[in-house]
């Protein structure tokens, strides 16, 4: 008993020290580069921490290997657009109804096909009838839906060309994004959670691509690759601050010029909001981890068969945690779109939004929520800072080097060194410290 207390004491100290170190790292960045950069890293680090918490729920608590994080993050971004952007009335009048009816037909087709398949006896007749239903339903769906989308996309395509959102405050999109991601995760989980670990990984990787493909191509929904800009903000705009005499006076009091002060102030606002979210999530996740539910999840993770034999519904619990974890990724996606004020579909890439999050979880310590948050912040800091640091390094190295292939390659390579570093970090942690910086207790 006493040793147990001691180890948790050490663990708390370790956690505290590592978080302190992370804070120092950010302060150093602010001092050596500039305060804005430190705040930018902090904000995205907090968002990454939310994603890492989500993945940690799935992997650390339940052992689910989900590498479709990117898809859920993108859905959260879509949530921000659909909540906060003003509705395009003309587009709704032009084809909104057709799209809604079309989607309804599509959904009904799937439901009818699934029900028919389940009701009919096994045999060639079953396959034929189901296929026929799907084909007829698809043709009908296209017939209603496609003219609708074309009409919507034709409405002022350079600035709108989509249905728009609901025009609600953007902060509301955070729960909305989370719910959208969770709803999609429920469907995906229903289909894929019966699969073995590797298959689940491949399937989720593919589903993320499908989500992305839909969002890139259904312009009526998200403007696709034309991007959505100017998502309303929950915080003041820099220009308004610079035009407000009180703010300028306050900045002058602090000895800062108004332009710098306004950007710092805006970013600090975001930091506070994001930090609040992370703290709430962390508390909730800790409570869940130490509750009977958390113990059950770990029991299932460590031995599915034994937990099943004890009467735990493994499949249902897996589905539950898959939905919750993906919901967190959606939340993070909505937060990110809020901070950026835009939805840029081409920026969603698996290396950045799926595999990097995994590095965060593994480096931080899978199964430990504090580890996930720390990993999120630290790995994000590395991801951003490796480029300027390696650019300086390359500058020193190539200064005395003659022109040639190697010099050309070296000067080109600085932006990519982060890939090498992430891979190396992941391999080293997995090999020498597989439990991560903050191991699970």
């Amino acid at each position: 008993m006493s040793t147990h207390v001691q180890t948790t004491g050490n663990q708390s100290l370790r956690t505290l020290l590592l978080f302190l170190g992370m804070a120092l790292l950010l302060v150093w960045t602010g001092w050596a580069y500039n305060a804005n950069l430190a705040l930018i890293i902090l904000n995205m680090g907090l968002i990454s921490a939310v994603m890492a918490l989500g993945v940690n729920l799935q992997w650390g608590y339940a052992g689910l290997f989900n590498i479709g994080v990117m898809g859920f993050v993108a859905l959260g971004g879509l949530g921000a657009v659909l909540t906060a952007m003003p509705p395009t009335i003309d587009a709704w009048q032009a084809g909104g109804l057709r799209i809604v009816i079309g989607l309804f037909i599509g959904g009904a087709t799937i439901v009818i096909a699934v029900m028919t398949y389940q009701r009919l006896p096994t045999g060639p007749r079953r396959g034929l009838i189901t296929t026929a239903i799907v084909l007829v339903g698809y043709a009908l769906f296209r017939f209603v839906y496609v003219p609708g989308t074309q009409a919507v996309e034709a409405v002022n395509p350079s600035s709108t060309g989509y249905l728009g959102g609901l025009g609600l405050p953007v902060v509301l999109s955070w729960p909305v994004g989370a719910l959208m991601a969770a709803a999609v995760a429920w469907v995906i989980g229903k289909i894929t959670l019966g699969l073995r670990s590797d298959y689940l990984a491949i399937a989720t990787l593919g589903i993320a691509e499908i989500i992305l493909a839909v969002m890139k191509n259904e312009d009526w929904l998200s403007r696709g690759v034309k991007n959505v800009n100017g998502i309303p903000r929950p915080v003041p705009y820099e220009l308004d601050l610079q035009n407000s005499p009180e703010f300028v006076a306050a900045a002058a009091n602090l000895g800062m010029n108004a332009v710098t002060a306004s950007t710092v102030f805006v970013r600090l606002n975001y930091s506070l909001m994001f930090a609040a979210v992370v703290i709430v999530l962390l508390v909730l996740a800790q409570l869940a981890l130490n509750s009977p539910w958390g113990r059950m999840m770990r029991a299932i993770r460590d031995n599915e068969n034994a937990a099943g034999a004890m009467g735990k519904d493994v499949k249902k619990r897996h589905l539950q945690i898959f939905v919750i974890g993906s919901g967190l990724c959606g939340l993070a996606g909505a937060m990110m779109a809020t901070m950026d004020g835009q939805l840029v579909m081409s920026s969603y890439q698996p290396l950045r939004f799926t595999f990097l999050i995994w590095v965060m979880v593994i480096v931080g310590g899978s199964g430990n929520n504090f580890g996930a948050v720390l990993g999120g912040m630290l790995v994000w800091w590395l991801w951003v800072m490796v480029e300027p640091i390696s650019q300086q390094l390359v500058g020193y190295i190539t200064a005395a080097m003659p022109e040639g292939w190697l010099r050309g390659r070296l000067t080109d390579v600085a932006p990519h060194t982060r890939l090498f570093l992430m891979g190396l970090l992941l391999l080293l942690v997995l090999r020498f410290s597989p439990r991560g910086l903050l191991p699970e207790k």
Binding site: D198, Y199, A213, F420, G423, L424, L430
Partner: protein, 337 residues
């Protein structure tokens, strides 16, 4: 009758030839993935980047040969460089195995841990390729471009529809056929090949009967290097080389391997063609073919395209999921470890 021939030519030109070439490339890639899965027992997420590496090395040797004034007549010079590319890639893979994977294999780590380790390898290979050749498109096909050029065919046959057949498409199919024949001969006829299959079927039993596991692993990596490099070079000759495209090819290759049944070589080949043909068929605008075939009254007004071309990747995964739902071990009954 003429309409029927025209429709057939269009079908051949826009679907059968491109999909066959693409299918052969995917099949070779999927064979590599499936061998790693069957014998080394994990899904290698760095597979696409390994393919990019092999292609990059081959491009390097191609440039070297061209610099020396050596060409391959009507064929692309890259085919001459291919063996060198394979050797270097095999050495790289053996080095990766020695430094990274062997540790986990000896400890009999769970497949999911190995898969996670492969994510680290993926990052590093991604870097190596970008360091070596950059992120831009590289074209490295030389020699004769067309075996049948569209215009000559139209002049010769007098048909409305043109048919073109590129050299790279023929080379792809022929090379892939030779590679697959060699692979199956090796797996089924040679002693080492049989030991690989035994090891894949039942590791413990294979060890008991005196099969040297290190040798099996080494041979597997060498074969995988040959298959992936060949697949990558053929794809690059047919289209072009781009680091990011190769990274993305991981998805359809995995889909092909899983659809056919992970761990099953025959399945990987079938899977490659299934994925390739469905991608092309679903995203092709059928208007032209249907206009030839149907009476004028029924001629379609729209493009009759089931899905936009951008849904290519989505198609392979939709198939993957359908197969996993109805036949979780794939069409050809792969492993379900």
């Amino acid at each position: 009758m003429l309409d029927l021939i025209n429709a057939g030519v269009a079908l051949l030109n826009f679907i059968i030839i491109p999909a066959t070439a693409y299918g052969a490339q995917l099949a070779l890639g999927a064979l590599g993935a499936t061998l790693i899965y069957g014998i080394l027992r994990f899904s290698h997420f760095g597979h696409g980047d390994n393919m990019a590496f092999g292609t990059m090395i081959t491009i390097g040797f191609t440039n070297l040969l061209l610099g020396l004034g050596i060409t391959f007549g009507p064929f692309p010079t890259a085919l001459l460089a291919l063996p060198f590319g394979i050797i270097v890639t095999a050495l790289m893979m053996l080095l990766m195995d020695r430094t990274v994977f062997r540790f986990y294999r000896r400890r009999r780590a769970a497949p999911v841990v190995m898969t996670m380790v492969s994510l680290g390898v993926m990052f590093i290979m991604n870097f190596v390729v970008r360091f070596g050749i950059g992120v831009d498109d590289v074209l490295f096909a030389d020699g004769t471009r067309f075996i049948i050029a569209a215009r000559e065919f139209r002049d010769w046959s007098g048909l409305d529809e043109a048919l073109s057949l590129r050299m790279t498409q023929v080379i792809t199919v022929v090379t892939a056929a030779i590679a697959v024949a060699l692979l199956f001969w090796f797996l089924n006829r040679t002693r080492t090949g049989k030991s690989l299959r035994a090891f894949s079927d039942n590791e413990d039993l294979a060890l008991l009967s005196g099969i040297n596991p290190d040798r099996v692993v080494m041979v597997t990596w060498i074969i995988v290097a040959a298959l992936t490099t060949t697949a990558g070079v053929l794809y690059g000759l047919d289209k072009s080389f781009k680091a990011f495209t190769y990274f993305q090819l991981l998805l359809p290759m995995f889909a092909a391997a899983v659809v056919g049944g992970l761990g099953n070589p025959l399945g990987a080949i079938a899977g490659g063609f299934i994925i390739a043909f469905s991608e092309v068929i679903v995203t092709y605008a059928w208007k032209k073919v249907l206009t030839y075939l149907l009476p004028d009254a029924l001629a379609p007004a729209g493009l009759v395209q089931l899905l936009g071309t951008d849904y290519k990747f989505a198609v392979s995964f939709a198939i993957l999921i359908i197969v996993l739902l109805f036949r979780p071990t794939g069409i050809f009954r792969g492993k379900s470890l």
